[in-house]
Subunit: 275 residues, 2 copies
Amino acid sequence: MSKETVAFQGERGAFSEEAAYKLLGRNIQVLPCETFEAAFQSVVKKKASLCLVPIENTLAGSIYENYDLLLQNDLHIVKEVNLRIVHNLIAFPGTTLRNLRRVYSHPVALAQCGRFFRSHSKFEKIPFYDTAGSVKMLAEKRPPNSAAIASRIAASVYGARILQRHLEDHHENFTRFLLLSPKSHVSPRANKVSIVFSTPNSPGALYKCLSVFALRDIDLSKMESRPLRGRPWEYFFYIDFVGNVNKPPSRKALEHLAEVTTFLRVLGCYESARR
Amino acid sequence: MSKETVAFQGERGAFSEEAAYKLLGRNIQVLPCETFEAAFQSVVKKKASLCLVPIENTLAGSIYENYDLLLQNDLHIVKEVNLRIVHNLIAFPGTTLRNLRRVYSHPVALAQCGRFFRSHSKFEKIPFYDTAGSVKMLAEKRPPNSAAIASRIAASVYGARILQRHLEDHHENFTRFLLLSPKSHVSPRANKVSIVFSTPNSPGALYKCLSVFALRDIDLSKMESRPLRGRPWEYFFYIDFVGNVNKPPSRKALEHLAEVTTFLRVLGCYESARR
């Protein structure tokens, strides 16, 4: 049986790769892509069978570009996974906590390790384009007295060592990833639905849309809005709710929603990840 | 009477400065700031009396950082203005459309002028940190055969000429700006209210919140969500609605909303801008 190829944005060792292993195990091939759009396109053009993209982070918020790409591409959400973001200090032999001077990483990762840098004031923070990319650069150029902050997978991909774990200030730092496939497959165990819709431009329109869920005691887990291009001050709404499109309450709610929306698409129905 | 000082993010000549003149006229002093946070802080620390920040663009969506800063700072929205984003080709004497080779601007502005670059394939696009900043750089360094893409105000601030107007692909490109003040003042003419709230983590909670508006036929013009830090998968909701906090329907709706939310703050009540 041939391995699945999973595309993601970032260098080898990115947090997306760590999330792919958590969700699918180690028996997969990975395809790193430069941009989120390239990760989507690699599935559309059949260079990969699946792609895994981050959709929200509990500190930074939604990754809006991926909401837009979900609408622009005809892919289906088939699974989700929540990954706790653990920042590790990673170096190659010869560099120790004692002789370390320079720490490379993505600016967001450096900013999320404020307490670590305050307790090691001799370390210089050097912004880099990518977390895993900074480990890759250390592997290739071996600058002296230098380390990187990245995922534990980045250390193993590039054969580096972890000098210290859990550099992050906030432990409640999770990223939710969606696994996308060109094929829609709804398991009987699926218990979460993601949809996107637009409403008529009239008072109470959004309230009517939410009523189709509230009247059936269906729980919403996420709601997001994005601009409707070419129609200033109108929006697409993205909603995640608890249910299965093949079972009565959700099916009826979607039929009802179709009556009160101007556009409606189901993006996927899949098993909810643990928190 | 002393002039108001209005802080904004960006270099002199930024679209925010153009929006400030549209909203308040030319008889103001402006204070350019490096970041949005610095623009907010300049008002908090009384270096400026007001600040003007973009909150959403009809093509790109919300400026989420400013939603977060509205919550973190105790400033009040006192006015809003919608600015049509017009991209201009700006150069200094000696550079013409005929001898032009290099065009500097912010990557988003360059991307929004795709048709212009396709019809002038000899022009090289050079990404720069800021639209107005690219005109400032031309003014200081005078590189040959070079132009910038920026607001018409940037041309006048730096004494440059506009070679061509309306380079933008989409004419439906508007940015909505909010004027923030440390003092709350609600005019009897105010007809728009901006609020932020969080809900109990229970099914139908958001629906109950929206019902306080729907039951009173109050129209919502915008809804946005942002993560609640330290409480994974919970959110703050930002809503704009039509009304005046001193008049019965809105006042009653807010009293009702306070009963069904765990946190509620009015960010401002002000006159709605024309579309």
